[in-house]
């Protein structure tokens, strides 16, 4: 942190100023002119929180993608299919058993197993041939997408959260002041807050696991130098299998989150694959903190875009990607 500040004084200053403005906009009671300028504070806060929570979802999907890429240089363009299929699995488990929470382990385990199959039957055979991997996984995603369309049809599926999570919760953010002088507080969907908190926990756990545990050291050593790792006698194929399973499982669990937040339908696989691509391109391939930053940026940009310039919301996301590519082709946290 301190190193960053001393190396990039201008960037640090800009980040501090933006953070300050954001905090002020979140906590202060807005003056008239600001509401007149950009609409009510409630709108702004909703867009911001939706963006942040959407960023949490993007992070869950993209972190698996970037982990798999970072360690194994495996490009899995079927990652979006894992997401959507995980969502469907979660939907059926949740509706059969009636327990929403069961959907997560179910989707995680099924997708992790599928990921193991991918790694064992596909990627292991074409190690280092990243273009061929890309093409094969594109093929897989075409096939899986059609199989899902065949099995589940074109309908929208929504996973309903349990009662204790549904409905809004009160927050301490003031959106307006009534004429009586009472404050109006923002009410925000409970389930989004809980899921966001969970994704933060998962992200932190991943970071800690990568940076503080033996297995994490192994994985990071593998990222830096695979030959050395296999030379030390570590059974690298086993580590690879584990990481692939974990990344795939994470995508599956994210599918449950997506099915709860939004809905599951054909085409969502491509959408989330693209979101993951943009997130990791922006954040930097193979970096977990980079993925978090990228996911937040993309999520917030998408939501602000859809609130303030609905026609060009996607273009805003794209512009972020262009800007990053133009000035930092390796991504915000990527190593050159």
């Amino acid at each position: 942190m301190r190193r960053f500040a001393s190396r990039h004084p201008w960037w640090s200053a800009i980040i501090v100023v933006v953070a300050f403005i954001l905090l002020w906009m979140m906590f202060a009671v807005w003056p008239e002119w600001l509401s007149d300028l950009i609409g009510s504070k409630k709108l702004f806060l909703n867009a911001l929180f939706n963006g942040i929570t959407l960023g949490g979802l993007y992070f869950l999907v993209a972190s698996g993608f970037t982990l798999i890429f970072g360690l194994m240089r495996n490009v899995n363009l079927a990652h979006g299919s894992l997401y959507l299929l995980g969502g469907y699995v979660g939907y059926f488990v949740a509706s059969w058993t009636g327990y929403w929470l069961l959907a997560f382990p179910a989707a995680f385990i099924v997708m992790a197993l599928l990921g193991l199959l991918f790694q064992y039957f596909v990627f292991r055979r074409m190690e280092g041939e990243d273009l061929r991997q890309t093409l094969v996984t594109i093929g897989i995603s075409i096939v899986v997408a059609d199989l899902m369309l065949w099995s589940f049809g074109g309908d929208f599926y929504n996973i309903n959260p349990p009662e204790w999570l549904s409905g809004p919760m009160d927050t301490f953010f003031i959106t307006a002041v009534k004429s009586s002088g009472d404050y109006v507080f923002l009410r925000y969907p409970m389930v989004r807050v809980v899921i966001f908190a969970a994704s933060v926990v998962i992200g932190l756990a991943m970071w800690i696991a990568l940076n503080r545990t033996r297995i994490g050291m192994l994985i990071r050593a593998g990222v830096d130098d695979r030959d050395m790792l296999s030379a030390t006698g570590v059974r690298i194929q086993l580590v690879f299998l584990g990481v692939f399973a974990f990344g795939a499982g994470l995508a599956g669990a994210a599918g449950v989150v997506g099915g709860t937040f939004q809905s599951l339908a054909p085409g969502e696989d491509t959408r989330f694959l693209l979101a993951s691509l943009v997130v990791v391109i922006v954040g930097g391939m193979g970096s977990i903190p980079g993925t978090a930053i990228g996911a937040l940026l993309v999520g917030v940009a998408e939501q602000f875009g859809s609130v303030y310039f609905p026609t060009y919301a996607v273009v805003l996301t794209f512009l972020i990607m262009v800007a990053v590519l133009a000035f930092r082709p390796q991504g915000i946290m990527g190593r050159s």
């Binding site: 061929r132 093929g139 491509t270 391109i281 391939m285 133009a326």
Partner: protein, 353 residues
Amino acid sequence: MALFEPHNISRIDRSPGWIERIPGPYWALAILLLIMPSLASDFVLFQIFGWSFILGMIALSLMFLAGYGGMVSVAQMSVAGIAGYMVAIFGESAIDQISMGWPWFVAIPLGILIAAILATCVGWLAVRTEGIYTIMITLAIAAAFFYFCRQNYTVFNGFSGFNGVLPPELFGVDWRTAVPFYYLCLFWAALYFLVVLYVSRSPFGLALQGVRDNPRRMAALGYNVTAHRVAAYTAASIPAATGGILLTWQSAQISPGTISIGPAIDILVVAIVGGLRHPIGPFIGAFVYVLLKTFAVDFLTSLGLSGERFQLIIGLGFLVIVFWSPDGVLGLWEKFRNWQKRDPLRGQEGGIE
């Protein structure tokens, strides 16, 4: 990756008599294609051949980039789509409140020019990274362009796009009838095929293949590698844009559906299935794709499956190709030829590997 082995760099030909050097099968193919209208029905000419030539041209632009330049761009369908959109916007369509109705000799060059400029921008962005990133970035660009066209109503007319986009009635011919359209597509497809073949052995083409095989060495020979790559995107945009305009005329409409992720990936599928080593590959791939797309329904229903499972067939076919023959149908053909040429005593394959 086997797709980009260096050994298909062509030598510069200095021997005279290029007509004699055209192999016999090419003559046969050319004559067959020229007399096709007397053999085939209007449906086959317009739907199957017309569409194959168009898809082939768009895939040819990808073959040029990927086969010679080592850059796999999924944005070629977007480039084609831009040209189609521009012709609809500058020329005439059923959406008169947007279409400007300019004459074709303004609208078409303008469309191709704008497509070329945008392709150059795509290239400039994409060449900042290498290899696998190129696919990801061009995929993201293609997606952004699709969503933009779908949501922009002032220029791109949003979800419904433009219909009633017709070719000009030049020389009193209705170019949308089967036979003229067939010859129109054949002309452009053959032209670009020959141009790509010719350019592959020109200084630009040779240098592009050098950049693919060893960019660092090319820089040490005085080549500006980045500029060469970007220029390849610009050059490749021309056949793609032409294909896009013809595609728009063929279906008389252009809409976001024409340029969505599905069609963008289909172009990749077509080029890979055909083979990236030779400009004939994309046309073979396009022909196979169109045949499948046209007759898969009958085939699937005969198997007792719903005709909607077309994507499944395409996906599985693509998987089989990339798994077992990364050089596509062309690669299979080469393997077959080598197998035929095999020395019976040593059992070794002929050809230089």
